[in-house]
Amino acid sequence: MDPECAQLLPALCAALTDPRQPVADDTCLEKLLDWFKTLTEAGSSLQLLQDSPCLVELLLQVPKAPGLSPRVLAFSLRLAGLLAAQEDCFQFLQGELLPGLFGEAGPLGGAAWTAPTVRSGWIQGLRSLAQHPSALHFLADLGALDTVVSLQGDSSLFVASAAGQLLAHLLGLSLRGQAEGSPGPQVCDWPASAQRIVGHIEESLCSPAAPRVTQALNVLTTTFGHCHQLWAQVLWARLSPLAACLLEKDPVPAAHSLVDLLLSAARSPALSSDRSRWETVAQALGRLSPAHAGPLALGLLTLQDCPQALSAQAFTVLLQPLACVLKAATQAPGPPGLPAGPEGDPAVADALLSSRSACVGLLCQTLAHLELLQPLPQRPAPWPQAPLLGAAVTVLRFCNGSAVPASGSDVGGRLCAILAGCVRVQRAALGFLGALSADTGPPELVTQVFAVLLDYLQSPDSSPTVLKKAFQATLRWLLSARTPPGCCDLDPPTQLLLRELLPVLQRRLCSPCWEVRDSGLEFLTQVVGCWAGQAGFRHALLASEVPQLAQQLLQDPESYVRASAVTAVGQLSSRGLPATPAGPEHPGGPQKSLLPELLHVLAADSEGFPRRAAMQVFTQWLRDGHAEVAEDTERFVARVLQAASRDLDWEVRAQGLELARVFLEQTLGQPGSRCPYAVAAPEAAAPGRVAQALRAACRVQLVEFAFRALFDYDRPVAQKSCDLLLFLRDQAAPWDSLQEARGSPDVASVEAALRRWRAGEQGQPLGPLEPEAVLAVLRSMDLEGLRGALAESSDHVERNPQSLLQDMLATVGILGDNEADCY
């Protein structure tokens, strides 16, 4: 602890124990605890207490002070726990202080105990304290275990959860405390405290009250989640029969927590040699309701070491709802059935049909689980791609009313009624269908996928969120329809889709709903990005009105749409797919330049998003050497930077610096951005090029823009500018031939301007600059220092402990003044 803090601490401790003083807010106390934590982690707690006796005094006074705020009480309990985590310090505090805080003499029996903060502080204090065997004796003497157990059912969820975790921690500690080797192979050989905890868990597991079962299961889940030792096997052997008994009940109590426990046990390395856990898990898969069995199945399938038979069972469970849906529809696309058994599980059908919300919930859960599973390397093999595609298509058809239920199937009829127009299931199924594009499917199924996607894109009933998902899924399927090797064009089904897709896109770009227009533009940008090289696509796109519509949307009233339109037309233009003037009166008319329009957006749009998008387009154009930019690059850069420098949006200014960097790299002869992970430093540019680049940078007022940005109020802009100037300086490092102009009037005026800018006077321009002067200024500046300062967060000054203590004391001090005034 530095001396300044040591000096301030006694006053703060005194203030904290004074009930009349207003206590600083919770955040301050949390920060204070954080500080103490760093101190105790870095050094001896005992030393800390000896150096700061005020802390001992604080901990002694707190339980005695009547009317103290619950926050201070909770803080003291947690602080005491932190300090007592070190055994020597624990011994030091054990005599009077710790029992006074955590025992009956403390808040435990008093009125303060009614505050959840205090109960939570008590538990957290004990959690920190319980790090060594002596702590266990202390807790036993205190009789704390009973309190912890009762707090498991606390009305505050935070307290209840913390109590459960403390119990798990104490169990681990008591068994770890056995210094000589591992604890006995029987629970009866275990220490008394461990036996008590296990006994309590056993009792709870047998209790008819579901909340008690849940608490016990949660403690076990935490235990197996953290324990890597052999005693876990003994514990599992003892308690797993009780967990299995729970599975016999109907309905299974605390099913959610039971799933967590089984997954925790399945993942536990300590139980890796125990085969019995797989039997319990297999039993659970068969007994749990589909809604609970699903998460268990997914958890098992993501394991690396799950036995194959169990994986197969889990996969079957996971697929059952979809198998049920497939079975309920006639003419389900694709090969019949999923590997979920020829007969659908009646429980699954019951769960699907019990209510609309249950059906929707189960289907969404299943689809989401499969979507998660799909990209994993350990997913079941063979992956039933075709039936899954069929199932996703069928679900989507049930949702839009085009699926025909199997004759005589009640399930089909009910599903039809439940799923019609259900947006949640539509979104989940489209997400899953999109994910399935990573693998191929039989051509006839792919055709059906395209058909159903097109149905959704065309349907006026598709909600904006469903449409967005449909666009995303379509894009993924389009991108997966890779060109066959040796062929430079799209395959026939994709071309067919495209022919129908573009008119739909046209209509969607004219939708009165802005979200739809926005999704349409995003789709256009992405599809152009990937397919601009395909002759078939180019031809179809240019023959449609999509490019013109995208350009018209630059005037959209909604800023998000304008931003997406800017990106889209930028992309179209980059890829040589410009909009030709619309209407029959301009056939093949002269192509209108897009640059002025986008510059107008940058200069005049009232919202930030379109301006940011314009900057990104310009940067990309510069990188790509876009024709309109290449005509006069310097003029282009100058105009863009001029507009960006005036922008109020920091992201636009930051993007301006990005563009400046690209320009510099190009003029310095380093096309393309460097790989950030390259081992070697970038080579410095040739002196001639440096001079040229600097002159060009001065001409386009890039240097002035960067210098101004260096003192930007928004830190990311200043950081970016600092990086840019460092880059420029480093590039010019070996350049000695150029005469530095240090001391010349030009340099002096630049430095003076920089000083003014630093002081916040941004008005005055720099005027024409010479490269020599720029270089001199760059070399004279402490850019590394500035970069270091900028890397600190903006509140780094306020975040040091001294400042914290001062702030807290200031709060107290203000009250002191007021009191004086009152007298």
Binding site: A403, V404, C510, Q555, E585
Partner: protein
């Protein structure tokens, strides 16, 4: 409404028609437009021989498939319209209208159109709700009054959406996407529509969308003989509008934004294509005009004018006519045809929610609503699903509603009520005997005090014997309660009767006093003491029986 003149003018109708004011005014406009359209093109001759069944079946389709052609009527005249409308009595929402004292009828807002109503028909103990074209969407009319439909014995459900698979919001989106796409390409848009109804909402959406879609410079024309009246009438029915629009009136602002569209010259309206319209007409443009069947009205001219260019689009929004049939005589057509039926009436999901909310004891609906549409037999969601299952009816079927009228309310005149002396039989239940005259008139019943006997006025006239009877008659107390047989037998024994035998009968018990040769027959509503010529014994037994009964 459109058929009203046929009922009131051709069937000998002599009754009263009840309707809300907007219904009458807008109905008049719709009929006026129809009459105007048909009278514009008078026929020199009318052919009727083809209606002969033998001839008709030889005709090509669709003529030969037409149903009941012999009942087809010529369109009514304005005179008939006026006469029909004169029979209407105006009513307001929630107003109670007494029909012959038998039932009360109350119109409620149905949320579908200006002044559109659902009706409650109720007596004192029964309530029937008649739900016709209703909407739960937020459009221009007052929202649907669902609360008043609660506690119905029977809910008659009609007028659901004709296009249950088309969501109105999606269709409006589709309408504008196609409109914008056409106009941007230099094409014209034709919207065949009625002069009132959905057009108000379309114009409102247009108002919001016009600038964002870059359509500010495109003229919108509304052509109808009643266009002006329709647009103006809509603005004056403030009390029939939704809350938002009502509050605008107090600002004061016109409730519908089409006023602003007209003011800024973006929307122009004309009675017909002749006259001013010919001078102002500018293309590309959007035209709203009738009739949606495309068989008459100004729309016919636009179909002829624009049908040949693929740049133009006709967008159907009214669900009443099959757009394919409407277009049939114009084929081949180059113009694009878009079908965006906008029907805001209840769909089956909304019906299901409504029924859960209102919870009627029984639902009665047309047969079509109890099964999925024939073309989509698998769509189980497109039918009414409720418990108990709905009772269905067919066209012209007479249905007995599933309830029995068991009670009538009878009013007691105050002076009679004053004279009653109720006696509490058990806590909360009091009884009193009433002697009164039941007076029934116009299905209302009232108990009035019995007429007082005429006092003798001096013996001029000889008193008639019958006049004395009411006075002389001693009113015996009424008895109530039941006789517990075991206790009764014990009492009999206490009073010296022996050899008592009790037999159970279907209706009660028979107590046999064998020694006295007497029979006491105890039933639920009567007790008989049968003994031969021993009046003393009978009276003794009677008094014992009476001890167990309450008298008042």
């Amino acid at each position: 409404m459109m058929a009203l003149p046929y009922i009131t003018e051709h069937t000998g109708f002599t009754g009263t028609v009840y309707a809300t004011e907007p219904t009458v005014q807008i109905g008049r406009l719709l009929m006026e437009e129809l009459v105007n359209f048909t009278e514009r093109v008078p026929k020199a001759q009318s052919a009727s021989l083809w209606k002969n069944k033998d001839t008709q079946r030889l005709l090509p389709s669709p003529l030969k498939d037409a149903v009941e052609v012999s009942t087809w009527r010529r369109c009514y005249t304005m005179q008939e319209v006026n006469s029909a409308l004169s029979k209407i009595q105006l009513v307001g929402y929630s107003q109670k209208i007494e029909l012959f004292g038998a039932v009360q009828v109350t119109p409620l807002s149905s949320g579908y159109a200006l002044g559109s109503s659902n009706w409650i028909i109720q007596s004192h103990y029964e309530k029937v709700s008649y739900v016709s074209g209703s909407s739960l969407l937020t459009t221009h009319p007052q929202p649907m009054d669902q609360a008043s439909l609660k506690n119905s014995d029977v809910l008659v459900l009609t007028g659901l959406t004709q296009i249950p698979t088309a969501n109105p919001d999606g269709m409006v989106g589709e309408f504008f996407s196609n409109l914008a796409l056409t106009v941007r390409n230099g094409g014209n848009v034709l919207v065949p529509c009625y002069p009132s109804g959905v057009i108000y909402d379309l114009l409102e959406c247009l108002y919001q969308y016009i600038d964002s879609a870059g359509l500010s410079s495109i003229p919108f024309y509304f052509i109808s003989p009643v266009a002006n009246s329709s647009l103006e009438f809509s603005q004056i029915f403030a009390e029939w509008l939704c809350h938002n629009k009502q509050t605008k009136v107090y600002l004061p602002e016109p409730p519908f934004p089409h006023a602003e569209l007209i003011q800024t010259n973006k929307l122009k309206h004309y009675p017909s294509i002749h006259g001013d319209f010919s001078n102002d007409f500018r293309q590309p443009c959007v035209v709203f005009t009738g009739h949606p069947s495309l068989r008459f009205g100004d729309v016919v001219h636009f179909m002829e004018l624009w049908g040949k260019s693929s740049l133009n689009t006709v967008i159907f929004t009214e669900p009443d006519f099959s757009y394919l049939e409407a277009l049939a005589p114009y084929q081949p057509l180059a113009m694009k045809c878009i079908y965006c039926p906008i029907d805001t009436r209840l769909n089956f999901i909304q019906v299901s929610k409504l029924l859960k909310e209102v919870q009627p004891l029984h639902v009665v609906c047309p047969e079509q609503y109890t099964q999925p549409p024939p073309a989509q037999a698998h769509r189980m969601d497109l039918m009414i699903d409720c418990q108990p299952p709905p009772m269905s009816y067919r066209r012209a079927e007479v249905l007995a509603l599933p309830f029995k009228r068991r009670y009538e309310k009878i009013e007691i005149m105050p002076e009679l009520a004053d004279s009653l002396v109720p006696m509490e039989m058990k806590p909360g239940v009091s009884l009193a005997t009433v002697s009164a005259v039941l007076h029934t008139k116009d299905n209302k019943h009232a108990l009035q005090p019995p007429p007082r006997p005429i006092q003798p006025t001096g013996g001029k006239k000889r008193k008639r014997v019958t006049d004395d009877i009411p006075d002389c008659k001693v009113l015996k107390p009424l008895l109530s309660g039941s006789i517990p047989v075991e206790q009764f037998v014990q009492t009999l024994e206490k009073h010296g009767f022996s050899d008592i035998k009790v037999e159970d009968t279907a209706k009660g018990h028979i107590v046999l006093l064998q020694e006295a040769e007497t029979l006491i027959q105890i039933e639920e509503d009567s007790t008989h003491i049968i003994c031969d010529n021993d009046e003393m014994l009978r009276v003794r037994l009677r008094d014992l029986v009476l001890k167990f009964l309450q008298k008042f």
